[in-house]
Structure formats: structure tokens, C-alpha cells
């Protein structure tokens, strides 16, 4: 490509604008936060609790729902059946719903009058205002990311590899765990990260299900409402930094586990 062409400069200018648009508010927020404000916030127990609650609940929600979501993703990748498009639409629905509306819908389901709420009540658990309720809200709005990423991964595994495994004596369960799943690991890891990220950043649905205990997004909102921008900002910076470190660690871990695997899969397909 001729790097001096007008086209090249237009592309470069537009790309820079978009990247600047993403970066500027974040950099501005960091620069506007003084180190003393930041460290004071880091030491604040309420902030620490909310960040820990957000991360742990989002992680558990992702982990628990992955057990159900991955088989569903495999089914969506491998089988054609009547109503498949409707089911795919259903999977994508939480992404397009306004999240406050999702929260209202979920509240009806998990409150003591709702189906799941009644069941939980039998074991003395009130899901509203409870970390389990928060996990359900996080999972509801973020599950699509994991299912879709895993479905794309399974669809990319050649069916003949699964057939070969069965011809060599593997039962369907063994075939799944020894061939399909290892070959889709990278997609699942990406979907896991996306679901985790989307879940922990959720505000709209959670604020309806559980204002308390406060997740980090709710805490930031509350500080902003109560005390203004300068109090909300250090908590936001802290939350973003923690999230960033965790994402980088997960990404490094999953890349190491899959680097060679993906290379050979591309060569084989």
C-alpha cells in the first residue's frame, strides 16, 4: 500500500479520532485524580468491599453459568432443529434489552412472588438484595457473550475430528471432553472474559435487584449522586485499574494455554 496516499491519511485520521474518543475520558479521569485522593479511596473499606464483591460475584456467575452455557453453545453449533433461529434470538435478547428493563423482568422472576424467588425462599434465601441475586442479574445481561463465543468456537472445530474420535472408540461424552472442548478452549476463554467483564460492569439491572450490598458501579453512582464528581472519580479509577490488571492476567494465562493449540488448529482446518 502506498503510505502517502490520501486514502491512507483519511483512514489514519478517522482511526485516531476514534481511539482518542475512547482514550481521552479515561486518561482525563486518571489525570484529574490526585494520588492522595486515590490512595485514600483505595484504603476505604467500603470501596474495597464493593470492588471485591463485584469481581467475586461476576467471576462466580460466569463460572457457574458456563457449565450450562457451554453445552447449549455446542448444541447450537452442531445441530439444526426447528426453532433454532428463535433460540438464537432468545440468546441475543439480553444484549439488546434496556438493562433497567432486564432488571425489572428479573426482579419479577426472583422476588418472593416469582418462580425462582419462591424456590429460593424454600431454603430461606431471599435473592433480592443478595449477592446471588446480583450474580443472576450479571449473568442475565452477559451470558450471550459466552454462549456466542463458544458456539463460534465449536462451529470452527471440523465435525470430522469428532467423528474420528468416536470411530476410535470415544463415547459422545469423551469425544466432547477430549476433542471438542480442548479445540474450543480459546473461544471459551474469550467468551468467559467478555461475560465476566460485561457482568462486573453491569449497573442498570443490578441497581433494581440489589442496591445493597453495593457493587462497584452502584457505589460509583451513589458517590456521584451524594458527593459529586470528585468523590466518584477516584473510586472509578481504582475499579478500572483493578479490572484492567485482572483482564491482562486472564488474557496472558489463556494465551499461554492456547497459543500452540490455535496455531495447529488453523493449519489443520
Amino acid at each position: 500500500m502506498d503510505t502517502r496516499s490520501t486514502f491512507h491519511w483519511i483512514i489514519l485520521a478517522l482511526s485516531s479520532l476514534v481511539l482518542l474518543f475512547i482514550l481521552a475520558p479515561l486518561v482525563g479521569m486518571v489525570l484529574d485524580t490526585s494520588p492522595s485522593e486515590f490512595f485514600q479511596t483505595v484504603k476505604d473499606d467500603e470501596v474495597q468491599d464493593s470492588v471485591w464483591l463485584t469481581l467475586s460475584v461476576a467471576f462466580m456467575a460466569t463460572l457457574v453459568f458456563a457449565f450450562m452455557a457451554i453445552p447449549l453453545a455446542w448444541m447450537m453449533a452442531r445441530y439444526n432443529f426447528p426453532g433454532k433461529r428463535i433460540i438464537q434470538g432468545l440468546i441475543d435478547l439480553p444484549v439488546v434489552l434496556p438493562h433497567s428493563a432486564a432488571g425489572i423482568a428479573l426482579l419479577g422472576f426472583i422476588s418472593r412472588d416469582g418462580l425462582l424467588g419462591k424456590a429460593a425462599d424454600l431454603i430461606g434465601l431471599n435473592l433480592v438484595g443478595n449477592p446471588v441475586g446480583i450474580a443472576l442479574a450479571m449473568a442475565f445481561v452477559s451470558l450471550s457473550f459466552l454462549i456466542n463465543a463458544a458456539r463460534d468456537g465449536f462451529a470452527a472445530v471440523p465435525v470430522r475430528l469428532e467423528k474420528a474420535a468416536m470411530n476410535l472408540g470415544a463415547s459422545p461424552v469423551k469425544m466432547f471432553f477430549t476433542v471438542s472442548l480442548p479445540l474450543t478452549w480459546r473461544n471459551i476463554a474469550s467468551g468467559f472474559i467478555m461475560m465476566f467483564a460485561r457482568g462486573m460492569s453491569e449497573f442498570g439491572a443490578i441497581v433494581i435487584i440489589a442496591y445493597h450490598p453495593m457493587t462497584a458501579p452502584v457505589l460509583i453512582y451513589e458517590r456521584f449522586n451524594q458527593f459529586g464528581l470528585s468523590y466518584a472519580r477516584p473510586a472509578s479509577v481504582f475499579f478500572i485499574l483493578v479490572a484492567l490488571v485482572i483482564f491482562i492476567l486472564i488474557r496472558i494465562f489463556s494465551n499461554r494455554a492456547n497459543r500452540s493449540l490455535v496455531k495447529v488448529r488453523v493449519n489443520n482446518s
Binding site: R160, K163, A164, N167, G169, A170, V264, N267, N268
Partner: protein
């Protein structure tokens, strides 16, 4: 022994119809057919990867039509080998044994023995992504053989192999067969059938239309499709009648003298391209001599392809030496001549 009884299976736009086939123990059977003829689907049905709509499959006297895939003892080698990319060569070969929970030492011994058998012992620690086509083929074969199947099903085993490596793979397949393994090999390549098969079958549009030993099938094809597989390019619809004590075949204005024998009234007359001789002068002593005009000349591997319009359009293979001797040119008039016994009617 493998026996297929009236296997039928419908797909969206294709069907396998009433497939009957018997393959003896230790036999090397090649099923020939174009792509889309149903060869791979039939292998998948035998292996249990798909169920037939009707019919039965017997292997060594035991019905396996509804048997679970993993209990069938049919080892399939897929067209592109289906090597597991996330496993090493050793792990690929050991896969079936690990699944059966054999002791580790037994697995190691079996994998090494099998790898030595197919000459890949030096590759055992390698990942599979940088193996050559021939090496991948060997891994796939070893991975299948280690399960001690009763029959090996080979789906176009040469299709993903460089031409230069095919002799090597053929030697490997012959070696496996010589150890007593029953082989069912599907291909579209007539040459493979000639080189490897004890018996061949030809499948077309989901039906097996002819089976027999290769010489018999290709010298007495039952129809135009089978004849095409044998490389025959000259087919003419003819009416046959007795004339002056022998049979003649009439195609348009042309008459061909046929060898002695019984013939139907109508048939398809065939003659192989290299059975036709060319001359610049009429050959009155020949059973059949026809005047024609050269329409097209193409250089082939070790000869020239010449298309000659003599009323019927003939495809003739001319050796380089004859081509130079005759100095053939387009639109040149030549005489085609051949003895009656080169003609066959199917």
C-alpha cells in the same frame, strides 16, 4: 467378512439405494465413484457415523447395523486424515488406547510397535502441524490400526497426498492388506483401483452398478459410466444387424464390423483411444477403415490427443513418434483403422 444387505439412506438431495456388497476377509476392495456418488456416505454408514434408513450391515457374521460406533471394530481413515491438532503424534496414536483405559506401559509398547510398522517411530514426539501429507496419512493409519479393527475403511486416501508420495502410501496400504487386514477403499481414481484392488465396485448416483475383479469390470463395463472410469472416450450409439455372415454396427452413415458374438439390436459401441491407428492412406486390409478430418490436436503426457471427425467424433491417442511420422495438422484428412476385435458393445 463385511456384508451390506439392501442399504438405503436418503439425504436432502441425494440417496443411497439398495446397496448390496460382500467383502471377504483379507480382501482389498475398492469402490470407485465420482464425487457426490455416495462413497463417503456409505463408509460413514458402515462406521456407524450415520444410520441407514433401511437394510442391514454384518461384520464377521454379527449384525452391527444399530451397534454403537465405538463397538463396531471398523477403523476409518478420513480423507484429510482428521488428525487431532491439539495432540502430538504419540498422543494421536495412543488416543484410542487411553480411552480404553489400558495400562500406560501397554499403551507405550503398542504405540511404538505400530509407529515402527508404518515407519513413523521418529515422529512420535512431534506435533502434527508440521508433518507432511504422507506422514499425516501414516499417523492416521497407525491411529486406526492400533485399535485392531476387523476392517479398515479408507476415504479417498490419496486425495490429500502429493503425487510423488502416492507410491509410498500404496506400498503402505499393500503391506497392511498383506498382514490380513480387510480393506474397503473408496476413490474416484481408476488408477488406484487397478494398482491396489483385489475386487472393485463402481457406484453411481447412490447405486453400485458393477462389481468384480478389476480386469473384468474394466474390460467388460456394463455401461457408459463404468467405461468412462476405465478411460474410454469413444462411445457411439449403434444399431446392430447381421450382414454377410457377421455383425455390423451402424452409427449414422458409418458401418463398423464387429467381432463374432451375440449382440442386442441396439447398443453402445466403445473403442479405446489407443486402439485406433492412423494413416494417410486408406488401409483396405483392415476390418474397419474410416476417412476423417483432424479437428483438434492436444499434447498429452506421453502422446498426442487427436480429435477426428469421421461422422462420429473419435478421440485418438497418437504416440509422439507416429505424430511426427504423420506430420498431423488441423483440418488434415486421415484414415482411422482398427481391427474388429477392438470394438465392444455394451
Amino acid at each position: 467378512m463385511l456384508e451390506l444387505k439392501n442399504i438405503s439412506k436418503s439425504y436432502d438431495n441425494f440417496a443411497l439405494k439398495d446397496i448390496k456388497l460382500e467383502i471377504s476377509k483379507g480382501e482389498y476392495f475398492i469402490l470407485l465413484g465420482r464425487s457426490g456418488a455416495g462413497k463417503s456416505q456409505l463408509l460413514e454408514i458402515i462406521a456407524g457415523l450415520r444410520s441407514p434408513d433401511s437394510g442391514s450391515i454384518f461384520l464377521n457374521g454379527k449384525e452391527i447395523t444399530r451397534e454403537k460406533i465405538q463397538n463396531r471394530k471398523t477403523g476409518m481413515v478420513f480423507q484429510d486424515f482428521a488428525i487431532f491438532p491439539h495432540l502430538t503424534v504419540y498422543e494421536n496414536i495412543a488416543y484410542a488406547l487411553k480411552i480404553r483405559h489400558l495400562p500406560r506401559k501397554q499403551i507405550q509398547a503398542a504405540v511404538r510397535r505400530m509407529a515402527e510398522n508404518v515407519n513413523i517411530a521418529h515422529l512420535l514426539d512431534r506435533r502434527t502441524d508440521d508433518l507432511s501429507g504422507g506422514e499425516r496419512q501414516r499417523v492416521a493409519v497407525a491411529r486406526t490400526l492400533v485399535t485392531s479393527p476387523d476392517i479398515i475403511l479408507l476415504d479417498e486416501p490419496m486425495a490429500s497426498i502429493d503425487t510423488t508420495l502416492r507410491d509410498e502410501v500404496r506400498r503402505l496400504l499393500r503391506k497392511i492388506n498383506s498382514m490380513g487386514m480387510t480393506m474397503l477403499h473408496v476413490t474416484h481414481d481408476y488408477g488406484e483401483a487397478i494398482r491396489l484392488a483385489d475386487r472393485v465396485g463402481v457406484i453411481h448416483n447412490g447405486r453400485i452398478i458393477q462389481t468384480g475383479i478389476p480386469d473384468e469390470v474394466f474390460s467388460k463395463p456394463v455401461n457408459k459410466f463404468v467405461a468412462r472410469f476405465a478411460g474410454v472416450r469413444n462411445f457411439f450409439s449403434v444399431k446392430i444387424s447381421p450382414e454377410e455372415g457377421r455383425h455390423v454396427a451402424v452409427s449414422g452413415k458409418l458401418k463398423y464390423k464387429l467381432p463374432e458374438g451375440d449382440y442386442p439390436e441396439n447398443g453402445l459401441m466403445i473403442i479405446e483411444s489407443d486402439a485406433i491407428n492412423l494413416s494417410l492412406k486408406e488401409q483396405k486390409d483392415s476390418d474397419n477403415c474410416i476417412k476423417g478430418i483432424v479437428r483438434e490436436l492436444n499434447r498429452a503426457e506421453s502422446a498426442y490427443e487427436v480429435f477426428i471427425d469421421a461422422g462420429d467424433l473419435f478421440h485418438v491417442l497418437v504416440s509422439n513418434k507416429d505424430f511426427e511420422r504423420l506430420s498431423l495438422n488441423q483440418e488434415q484428412t486421415v484414415f482411422l483403422f482398427f481391427s474388429a476385435d477392438k470394438l465392444k458393445v455394451i
